[in-house]
Symmetry: C2
Subunit: 467 residues, 2 copies
Amino acid sequence: MFTYTFQDRKTQSLYLQLYQHIKDDITGGKLPPGEKLPSKRAAAKNLGVSVITVENAYAALQSEGYIYSKPKKGYFVSEISTLYHAAVQKAEPAQVHLPPKPDYRYDFTSNGIIPENFPFSVWAKLMREGFHNLKHDLMMPSPAGGIPALQEAICAHLKQFRGMDIVPEQVIIGAGTEYLYSLIIQLLGGEKCYAIQNPGYHKIHKIYRSVGVKTVPILEDAHGMSSAALKTSGASVAHISPSHAFPSGTVMSISRRHEILNWANETENRYIIEDDYDSEFRLDGKPLPALQSLDSGGKVIYVNTFTKSLSPTIRIGYMVLPPALAEKFYRTLGFYSCTVSTFEQYTLAKFISEGYFEKHINRMRNYYKKTRNRILEEIKKSPLAAISEVAEEEAGLHFLLKLNTALPDAFLKKKAAQNGVNLSFLSEYYLTDTAAAPPHILVMNYSGIPWDAIPDAVKALEKAIDQ
Amino acid sequence: MFTYTFQDRKTQSLYLQLYQHIKDDITGGKLPPGEKLPSKRAAAKNLGVSVITVENAYAALQSEGYIYSKPKKGYFVSEISTLYHAAVQKAEPAQVHLPPKPDYRYDFTSNGIIPENFPFSVWAKLMREGFHNLKHDLMMPSPAGGIPALQEAICAHLKQFRGMDIVPEQVIIGAGTEYLYSLIIQLLGGEKCYAIQNPGYHKIHKIYRSVGVKTVPILEDAHGMSSAALKTSGASVAHISPSHAFPSGTVMSISRRHEILNWANETENRYIIEDDYDSEFRLDGKPLPALQSLDSGGKVIYVNTFTKSLSPTIRIGYMVLPPALAEKFYRTLGFYSCTVSTFEQYTLAKFISEGYFEKHINRMRNYYKKTRNRILEEIKKSPLAAISEVAEEEAGLHFLLKLNTALPDAFLKKKAAQNGVNLSFLSEYYLTDTAAAPPHILVMNYSGIPWDAIPDAVKALEKAIDQ
């Protein structure tokens, strides 16, 4: 029979105290497996508690499997394996060692955004309006492809600004392009080989590798990804950025666009992923039409994101699927929940459809143009001018700075890091053929350098690569 | 020499008009490949426009690849492949045929939430405060695992309510559990075989299949997933919901938990995914400790979501990795951007750390308890009572309703659908061994049935399965 003492029931209910006592006796071995427990009535009487209290304690023990009941026979202690005793011994507190996070004064390796440039007040206003007017809609699960209001807003935007003749159902919303790539792989097939740009964006390569998909890096020439190399590569999908290749800055020529479209049209299972990541920020001249707008064969999957145009901290990207693939998406991947919250989908839909997005883009384009011009001027005024040459400065949020130096890229990069400046060289973006990589070319991502810090940033750059 | 006429430059700038004229002549064949264009100066004089206008038009044509320049020789028309002519012909407007969306009066097949139950005013208040106080932080990209404030809040919550002894760095945030599964597969390896519950949640099966991962469905007995079957299955990872299996409602016994932990500890590459999807809503008795809290070998990946506890339209889930896997995550998958926007991460962090989440859970637990009780009472009062028996009603947001009927499940399901009621039977959740599936057991997900509609919903149910 049990002999337990109880504390004030205000501290913990009696049934939980009893539960704990019995559990301790089971795990401690005092109540061995197979042992019959006293009946509820007997235990209640013996302990001076109500039958309900014993009943609740037994029920908790039973639901966790410490005891089991046999009809008309009562409750018995379960067989508990030995591992438990190891587990209840207090383990050392867990430690997780994270990779060190370097802290740079100036980072030219990736495109940050300046917090002040985000349209906080408009965004907050639209979100507030949504909370107020759309309570019901905000609680309805989003269709797999996104809410229709956002699909329509993006569709209208692409028609107007990218010359794309599409319908809203072709637009699929997701939590950033990285996530969308994984959907594309599921849609097209993970057994296919994917051609990627060389030099290219490391992350794309890492994503394909991480999900176990075969890639083949293909060198580019002055027209963009080599179509001759693509043809013999064995790839079925070409992942390219025709408007502005990263990091080379190459704009794919019209003839090359058609060669690659022709390649895709040769057999049924070939596709093109058009990664239009920074087309909004072509700073000079006319925006280029999307490759998608030339596609009459249903071969181009257009991918873009609001990460660069709005903020990297709002994780919204989208893809435009050819009609047949859109239907396949809803048929085979429609079971997925859309990865973007409805709150942000509705807010962004209004942000676009009420014209704020266009205004924001225009404002940012001017801001980046000014930033770029100021950086180029500062470079011109500095000793850097004598040993460098600027290239590919008209499109997108980076330019190339060719250094006249004999020092190896790795040495300069390290020296800059020691001076608090994070630099990347074009040669680092070669996934293969690294020997063929032209040395001494800096990839200058400038969007995250605050306006007032530009003179100092260029000075730091100059000092870092001072010979 | 060009002979173009221009419209009012207010309609379109002269350089764009010139660009369009020349482009039309190139694509129309009037200007054949290789043809030399007039010099900028000559063209300007001839057309009566400025040299700058011609320069801009040529630059636009060149950047798109329609023309190219040879140093000191001038501009020439490029070779354009034939496809273009096909592409510019106006295609039929795209059509995307979506699968039909059935509309039910009452849906007992999945757990919706009632919009009025979402804590709108608190959520909006916290988000507003964030916009006001955290402008800078909101614009800083989230680390791959999520922002520290949310990791800390979730860690503290799990310590307090699930008895889990963890550190914040073990908590990885993602846009819903579906997305997190794909990260887990990348972390553990897509070549492994994953054991899943049978009967089980179809979506989990679909996700594994969609990313090309091998699964083996394993039948459960009264204690949960069969450990004997698991041992001989060839699986390396067991995906289970020990607190409350869906849809059977089985709570895994302590002895089975230890058997499965022992199985995982037998060799280095075995793991357990603990899907704790609705543990917050155990309606009666003491909450069960998580399997994770018994794990001393670094074998359990704990996964949970705010989809059920807050709203399916806020896409935030998380996983708790054993320390060694957490380090591997940052080392090998740390290149991924976190898929949840910082706005919602900060809002949720405050929602938890300021105690609102606990209050909300308690409120919802009471609400669901009342809802369940009312549904059970209505069933008791109705003719259904005579032909049915309720089971597994104490945990989570569904219960089982065993029907005393001779009619096949598929027939009843169809009949109910014709009456506007969406039903699912336990037998539908058998991924294999469908012959062994017990018939006539309804899986009753009730969380989406509005309070006032309960009597009518039960009537509709009764009518639907009326014999």
